[in-house]
Amino acid sequence: MSAPPLLEVRNLHIDMRSGQERLNVVENVSFSIGAGETFGLVGESGCGKSITALSLIGLLNRPLAVGQGEILFKGQNLLKMNGSELRRLRGNRISMIFQEPMTALNPLATVGRQIAEMFVLHQGSTWHEAERKAIAALAQVQVPAPDKRIKNYPHQMSGGMRQRVMIAIALACHPDLLIADEPTTALDVTVQAEILKLMQELCDQRGTSVLMISHDLGVIAKMCQRVGIMYAGHLVEERAVADLFRRPAHPYTHGLLASLPVLGQRKLNERKPLQEIEGIVPSIAAFPTGCRFEPRCTRASPICRDAVPGPSVLGDYSFVRCYHHG
């Protein structure tokens, strides 16, 4: 990638503040997304990937807040923007899709209105115009009979349909960046496949960059060019997808890939146990001081306990935070 990236996150820290206490939920995260690129952020629940995503468009709620760092979108620092500037960006240039299509839509408004809102908000359309555009947007996400469907309420639609509506809303203004936070986790596998395909097609068409957040390595592998692995608030490894799956550098990534049951791998009359990552994910209040994976790591040495390892560069936009990587 030679052109300046669309989004660049530098040394992002997110704190949780309650009273005097300050917990580092996300620490020193840096990554960038180029124009038209799909970047994946992988991690287990509580690793800070969703919080990172929310911080990008300024939607963190108390007691969470960005501690330090920079979020550069087209060269502008989002963290320095005021409310109205940020609002003009939100939904318009950067939009977001959430995990639960059940609750992410307003149950008391028609889906048509919820799509049309985008045009009213960002393109100054009249409601009448906006409604027409909403039908088109709904057609683009391959909802059949969109002119009838816009009069539906969310509860009248299936989960997959609702997620299509979410995509229609998110892509309504042709944003530069789409943040998709576990967009298919709540869906059945066959529906998931359709939704992923749809997202991929639409974003490819429009050159929209995507930040894909998921715990499912399969989804990441299918959708992304590059991927960041988060563990307990740290971005431990950032790689091109193919490199990551071929030669995982971080012991956590390594373990994760080894522990997955893989389709077609089982041999007849022989059953190998899966490789396990011992131990449990640490809780936010009890993050280890040094490398946060150290307690579960097979390669750990005393140095790992003392300080967080710095990034070891493995190539363009590729690094790993491990003293014993390889």
């Binding site: 059945d188 499912d216 399969g218 994760l256 049951p261």
Partner: protein, 322 residues
């Protein structure tokens, strides 16, 4: 496989219907057929997986096997003795036949009970009065699932998701049942924990000579764990057979679709794109696949008569006669 021996659990022509709540405009005698004329058998020390998507009736099937739901038609027998209908045993007897491990480790443990209480309760209920024996049994069970006996004093919220699932497994084992129903046992767990639980379950199966009925939509886990696989679609089994035959040679379009939908992280490494569509075999002559079109189904209508025909070694697929 061992089809000549008597199956441990035999489900025959099972149907479960739910009455539709009598709305103002809907006739009340209509019923949703959650399970429709389903037959399955589970052999000793086997893992039978039931695969399907939400709403296909797999959870209802699990509840029916455990006696938490009464069948509308058909019967289930355990070790040759019927456990449904007039002669059905009470909850207490049933408890020693089959137990269940739940999907959500957070909701499946009573937050107001210590682990010890959750495990000791059923033991006492089933007549184990001797305190020492109870403690022994709890300790061994906890050790068996990889927990320390001294952790029994704690409450569920003090455990992580993986540990809770271990507790859930311990609770299922505490009465020494023959069959365990696994309802999506790892889908709610963190990725790095799943392998631990899968290994534990497989290990326990061998050590305790257990038989599993596993409900799942995660085909990679199913492939790893199962001996037999049944694919369920709108209350019916559309394809059933030994795991290797289902995965290597899927016949029914729905099965194939399911397999195709799984995003496989390693396709990229292998640089190969297995398009199973190419291998789609035609239906047996004189038949068409049932249902012909995936995705449309009217749950209020009773389905057309279908036949479950053998297509390979112990491998059956549901067809509809032309």
């Amino acid at each position: 496989m061992a089809s000549q021996t008597q199956p441990l659990l035999q489900i025959e022509n099972l149907s479960v219907c739910f009455p539709v709540s009598a709305g103002l405009f809907r006739r009340s005698h209509q019923a949703v057929r959650a399970i429709n004329n389903l037959s399955l058998s589970l052999h000793k020390n086997q893992c039978l997986s039931i695969v399907g998507e939400s709403g296909c009736g797999k959870s209802t099937l699990a509840l029916t096997i455990l006696g938490l739901q009464h069948p509308t038609h058909g019967s289930i027998s355990f070790d040759g003795k019927p456990i449904t209908g007039a002669a059905q045993p009470g909850r207490m007897q049933r408890a020693r036949m089959a137990q269940m491990v739940f999907q959500d480790p957070y909701a499946s443990l009573n937050p107001r009970q210590t682990i010890h209480a959750a495990l000791a309760g059923p033991l006492r209920l089933h007549g184990l009065r001797n305190k020492g024996e109870v403690e022994d049994r709890i300790a061994t069970t906890l050790k068996m699932v990889g927990l320390k006996p001294e952790q029994a004093k704690r409450y569920p919220h003090e455990f992580s998701g993986g540990q809770r699932q271990r507790i859930g497994i311990a609770r299922a084992l505490i009465l020494d049942p023959k069959v365990i129903v696994l309802d999506e046992p790892v889908s709610a767990l963190d990725v790095s924990i799943r392998a631990q639980i899968i290994n534990l379950l497989l290990d326990l199966k061998e050590r305790l000579d257990l038989s599993y009925i596993m409900i799942s939509h995660d085909l990679s886990v199913v492939e790893h764990m199962s001996d037999r696989v049944a694919v369920m679609y709108f209350g019916q089994i559309v394809e059933e057979g030994p795991w290797q035959s289902i995965f290597a040679n899927p016949v029914h379009p729905y099965t194939r679709r399911l397999l195709a939908a799984i995003p496989d992280p390693f396709t990229i490494i292998r640089q190969e794109d297995i398009t199973r569509k190419d291998m789609q075999p035609p239906p047996l002559s004189g038949f068409s696949y049932y249902p012909e079109e995936i995705g449309t189904h009217d749950v209020y209508q009773s389905p057309p008569p279908t036949e479950f025909l053998t297509v390979g070694d112990d491998h059956k697929v549901r067809f509809i006669a032309r």
